[in-house]
Amino acid sequence: MTTQALKSATKGKTMNKTKLSFLVLLLIGLVAPYAIYPVFLMKLLCFSLFACAFNLMLGYGGLLSFGHAAFLATGGYITGHTIMQWGLTPELGVLFGTLCAAAMGFLFGKLAIRRQGIYFAMITLALSQLVFFLYVQAPFTGGENGLQGIPRGKLFGLFSLEDNLPMYYFVLAVFVIGFAIIYRTIHSPFGQILKAIRENEPRAVSLGYDVTKFKLVAFVISAGLAGLAGSTKSLVFQLASLTDAHWHMSGEVILMTLLGGVGTIFGPIVGAATVVTLQNYLSQGPLSSWVPVILGLIFVICVLLFRSGIVGEIQKFMKKNFN
């Protein structure tokens, strides 16, 4: 009884800590555009959301998807298409892109969840490559050129997003909503069952849980939020292109999550910030053609030396020294 009380007390403490960190981050997010170039910040937020969505699958579901680029690209293309061709307002375009990505996630999940572990990774990779080839040929994606000049439009038909500052706050709001959904998912009974499945699938089955259904729902949420990130990104850059659908992108999001810390709340954000900053910084310098090599090196170092990632290592360090 007492240990249980103690446990719930410490749990409450960590929850409060997480909430406090989140509030601090939110405050930083609110004032950041006055210090840092907003477009860069928006890119950062989009990739952070993308990585958080991916982390829901790998960190909490224990399933490595190598096909999340397909959802990012689908969100972007559908949002771009509906805004340009159907004249939707930005929030509806983003919503539509997100729903389409979630629907694609449902199809991917239905197929890939039939196999586990390494096969799951290979199947999602192959399916996303299929999507890539479809987008190369499909008429509505603009092929190699992509969709260019997507108008940011007016939010709810009222507030113009053409300027970077209002656009930034829209992206921040999207990110907060996405992050809140992930946080709620993880800290719900559903999230607990997901973790149970990750830790010991046969036991979860023996307890009577429909494992396949839980994995599928998690996958759909993850895909939908990845689509949300892609939709928002296409508004920010007014561009949806094949780069987003390429398997390199799936690799990048894995790297962001791994570097930041798989299965931690803030890890993917830290990882995404590090990778995006690194790419921005390197692509202007003399090392620009070495970017893939450097990303590969980070991959190897992460896997060999610190598998817990930046946030995971910090947590370990704190536990060791302050508890």
């Binding site: 390494i118 096969y119 990774a121 490559q129 090599v293 990303l295 991959f299 896997v303 060999l304």
Partner: protein, 295 residues
């Protein structure tokens, strides 16, 4: 000559031949992946990069050292296998106790490093590698023209595939390998050096990829990105076949090449996607793969 299924036979047989050649590469590569997976339990994501390395070793050897095609066919797999063995000894070995996904992530990182470095030095445009004199030219078979080199690819890969199958299924060494796949601890208890067996297995799988790379050099241009897109198709082939059987990997590889070739004739728009579609169908009907064992 009369038309066949509404197509001139030259077109049909020509595409079937190309399909068979692609299938030979699928077979060689998925065979290597299956062998490595069997014993190491990792998916070697660097397989495409190692295939590319094989082609580049042949090309660099010819350009700078005057190593001819036939020597390269032996030397390149040895060189690339040596690199693979170093990778296994220094890096992969540390991961066997961890989740198997880390092996995949590590080899993915290595593939990025290898391909990125070669792109930096050689650019993405391909380098030409000429067909060796003894295999140039071709024969007119009446219904189609058969270039000698293309026939050689099919023959060579079939020989290697069959040789590998024979070695694994019919020799003492292969018996150790199969035993190691089933239960490495027990095999070690019988006094077999399992770590060495693992190292050699990885080396052999990598050598198969490099061999395929040298075979590919004269017909596809030698380029740093030649392996990565091919590898994803090979992954789909592996999912279709299931990794349980060596013969299954070979048969599935050839079959998928033929299906791809036929699609190029009847519905060219789908030729890049047909193997993925087959994968989806197989997953729906037989999730463990055509030759896989039910888990």
């Amino acid at each position: 000559m009369a038309e066949l299924l509404g197509f001139p036979p030259q077109v049909l047989f020509g595409q079937l031949l190309i399909g068979l050649i692609n299938g030979s590469f699928y077979a060689l590569l998925s065979l290597g992946l299956a062998i490595i997976f069997g014993l190491l339990n990792i998916i070697n994501f660097a397989h495409g990069a190692q295939y590319m390395l094989g082609a580049f070793v042949a090309w660099l050897g010819l350009k700078f050292l005057g190593v001819n095609y036939w020597a390269a066919l032996v030397l390149a797999p040895v060189v690339v296998a040596a690199i693979g063995i170093v990778i296994e000894k220094t890096m992969l070995r540390r991961l066997y106790k961890e989740d198997h996904l880390y092996g995949l992530l590590l080899t993915f990182g290595l593939a990025l490093i290898i391909e990125g470095s070669f792109t930096h030095f050689f650019g993405v445009s391909g380098q030409p590698y000429s067909v060796p004199a003894a295999l140039s030219g071709g024969n007119n078979l009446g219904f189609m023209f058969l270039p000698t080199y293309r026939a050689w690819i099919i023959v060579a890969s079939l020989i290697i595939c069959f040789g590998t199958w024979y070695m694994i299924e019919r020799t003492k060494l292969g018996a150790y390998l199969r035993a190691g796949t089933e239960n490495p601890q027990l095999l070690q208890a019988f006094g077999i050096n399992v770590p060495l067996l693992i190292t050699l297995t990885y080396g052999y799988g990598v050598a198969l990829a490099a061999f395929a790379g040298v075979l590919a050099a004269p017909i596809y241009s030698v380029s740093p990105v030649m392996g990565s897109n091919l590898l994803i198709v090979v992954f789909a082939v592996v999912v279709i076949g299931g990794m349980g059987s060596i013969a299954g990997a070979i048969v599935t590889g050839l079959l998928m090449g033929l299906i791809e070739g036929l699609t190029k004739v009847f519905y060219p728009e789908a030729s890049t996607t047909v193997i993925f579609l087959v994968m989806i169908i197989v997953l729906l009907i037989r999730p463990a793969g055509l030759f896989g064992k039910e888990a």
